[in-house]
């Protein structure tokens, strides 16, 4: 009895102290675990219409819908070009021309004129503009193009894509890999690509993802006259992070000059695709969505 009591006391004290020492670690490990496990959750909006058709692959991959969380990858693409350089070359051309010359001199105007005439510039301010135009504010006295209104006019239609090309140039050009894909293996990898034409379950899913991503950014053309004629085909090239590398008009080949419903349709279509980028698509299927044809217009119903 005398021996048993101290032994028991020692035994219990040991258990209590062991628990006291060990328990916090057990608990903290549990917390640590929960903190470390980051579950990427993406909220995916399902539109009323999806392009997923009857082609059903048994792949149980609803999780694949969740692409990698790439928040760090997107900002660098936008931030590197805060300076106005890309549009520098436009500036010399950008002389605001004078508008309508009704210009009834003040003496001529009737004091009781209820609707006084409204003038816009005559020729006078034009030279005025050119003189001060050594542009003190332009950062670099970059390539100053001669002010050629005709060339300007023609270039302007093309200039829509200029920035695309320039951002493309400026981007860190992640890997020369995409080029290799194009140059080295012309038919093979492309032939292997299971694209929309084949309507596999995967591409249908990718189509649906793109559909749901682009549609909210496109305001449509219902408000324009003859909207059924306003169909715009574009081809886009994306990098692995879903950023737009290139965006081209396929049909019509270029934005119509001047004011026209098709001009508005082209503007809206290009803006929609640019605005909604970057696109979150499964990176492991990059080959399938590197190049995408995007068609916006009443003629492009679901397949």
């Amino acid at each position: 009895m005398l021996r048993g009591l101290p032994a028991s006391l020692v035994f219990h004290a040991a258990i209590v102290s062991a628990g006291y020492v060990a328990w916090p670690f057990v608990a903290s490990e549990r917390y640590a675990e929960t903190e470390l496990v980051i579950v990427p959750v993406d909220l995916i909006e399902l539109g009323e219409v999806t392009n997923i058709s009857a082609v059903r692959t048994p792949d149980p991959e609803p999780e694949v819908l969740e692409p990698e969380p790439e928040p760090e990858e997107t900002p660098p693409e936008e931030e590197p070009e805060p300076e106005p350089d890309p549009v520098d070359e436009l500036l010399p051309e950008d002389e605001i021309e004078t508008a309508r010359d009704a210009a009834p001199p003040p003496e001529e105007t009737d004091p009781e004129d209820v609707l006084p005439d409204f003038d816009a510039e005559p020729e006078e301010p034009a030279p005025k503009e050119e003189e001060p135009e050594p542009e003190p504010k332009q950062p670099a006295p970059a390539v100053k193009k001669p002010v050629d209104p005709l060339a300007d006019f023609l270039n302007s239609a093309d200039s829509t894509f200029q920035s695309e090309r320039e951002t493309r140039k400026k981007q860190p050009e992640p890997k020369p890999e995409p080029k290799r894909l194009l140059e080295d293996t012309p038919p093979k990898p492309q032939a292997e690509r299971r694209g929309a034409g084949e309507r596999s379950g995967n591409t249908a899913r990718l189509e649906a993802l793109m559909y749901n991503a682009v549609r909210p950014c496109w305001t449509g053309v219902d408000d324009q006259p003859d909207p059924e004629k306003l169909n715009v085909r574009m081809s886009a090239e994306l990098d692995k992070a879903g950023n737009l590398i290139d965006l081209r008009l396929v049909e019509p080949g270029r934005r119509p000059l001047g004011r026209s419903p098709m001009g508005v349709a082209v503007d809206r279509a290009l803006r929609a695709v640019r605005k909604c980028a970057p696109y979150r698509l499964p990176e492991d299927e990059y080959d399938e969505w590197k190049y995408i044809n995007i068609n916006l217009g009443p003629a492009f119903g679901p397949k």
């Binding site: 605001i96 009737d110 009781e112 301010p125 929309a196 449509g220 001047g258 004011r259 508005v264 803006r271």
Partner: protein
Amino acid sequence: MMKRLLAALTLGLASFAGAASAQLEVNIQDGVFQPTPIAIPDFTADGVEPEIARQISDVVRADLESTGLFTITPQSAHIQTDLDIEVAPRFADWKIIKTDALAVGSVERITVDGVEFLRGSVRLWDVYGEDLMRLDGQPGRRFRTQPEDWRRIAHKISDAIYTRLTGETGYFDTRIVYIAETGPKDRRVKRLAIMDSDGANVQYLTSGTFTVLTPRFSPEAQQITYMSYESTQPRVYLYDLKRGRQEVLGNFRNMTFAPRFSRDGKSVLLTQAINGNSDIYIMDLVTRRTRRLTDDPAIDTSPSMSPDGREIVFTSDRGGSPQLYVMNTNGTRRTCPSGGQDLACRITFGSGRYSTPVWSPRGDLIAFTKQSRGRFHIGVIGTDGTGERLLSESYLDEGPDWSPNGRVITFFREPFPGASPKLYSVDLTGRNLRLMKTPTDASDPAWSPLLQ
């Protein structure tokens, strides 16, 4: 060798084409309508008080916002504040705040031949395209006017931006003529008034001694025709805005009313009531010759001409109740939508009474007032009588007239019995219904064409 090379080339091309066709393809048929976000920071001031530049910016913002097609990005959200009209903006700063377009402007004071002018300039940037958007084919627009007309600079700028972003001609640099009403209901004073399209610069053209009704603008916006009780009986008058003078139109012995200019402004359509029977006439403003267009024992009134001048829509109760009819201006027979031939074809068959038709400047629609089940509506219908749509409903909605681009309709409303009439505007979708502010009660609005 050559053949083999050709074959290889063909094969290569075929496989390439095959690959291209297999590319991922996304088809979207309809978009999601939402107002376009646009940023219009306060214009910079050069040699003028910053307050004027700010006021001009305010008017531009208000103009565009009133269309319901744009949302103005609040200035408090702007990141870049060092904008210069001669320097491209930092697009990234504008993408972050999700604005689609950016208007950068400046206002300056200039002197031409010793006369001082205010000059406003603007450039419009496509934020996501990182490019300049051409305004009327130009890399920017610049307008000048006498300092007291600074609002017109703002309206012109709004028109230029609106046109670029919607593809439609603007309608901000316009005026609206209407009947200003004051005083108690039993002794109402009705004066002819004119204001800018946004309700500013109201001026009264008549004193109110005589009641005036149904004013209409000429296509040149220099003349107004209206009905006045100035003489013993109501007559159609012509008001010259330049000279500030009015004259009786024609030498009719009977009551004339419901005037409206033809599309070329060279003649006026009106109704003349002879022994209780109203018919439509057209008067040449140069020769002052009158031609009778309808000859029917029923009441024919409220004529409005199509933009090409070939057709006229009017109200007639020849079918038993007031309905809309279309006839050829030259009085020849026409094929009606029903298939038969007639001098005038009925185009409305819905329940209710149709009146005050106005042909759209675009030519595709006719706006009207409809009375049905004790309620009034403003609606539109195709010129062949198809596609009727009601855009508004109230206790009393009446007197529609089109904006010069045919996208917006103005009318007046009395929301309940005894209420004061006010001017409203509604766009063709019916979604954007707005009260137009006037200092007094107002009715019978008419929109001017775009000012020159």
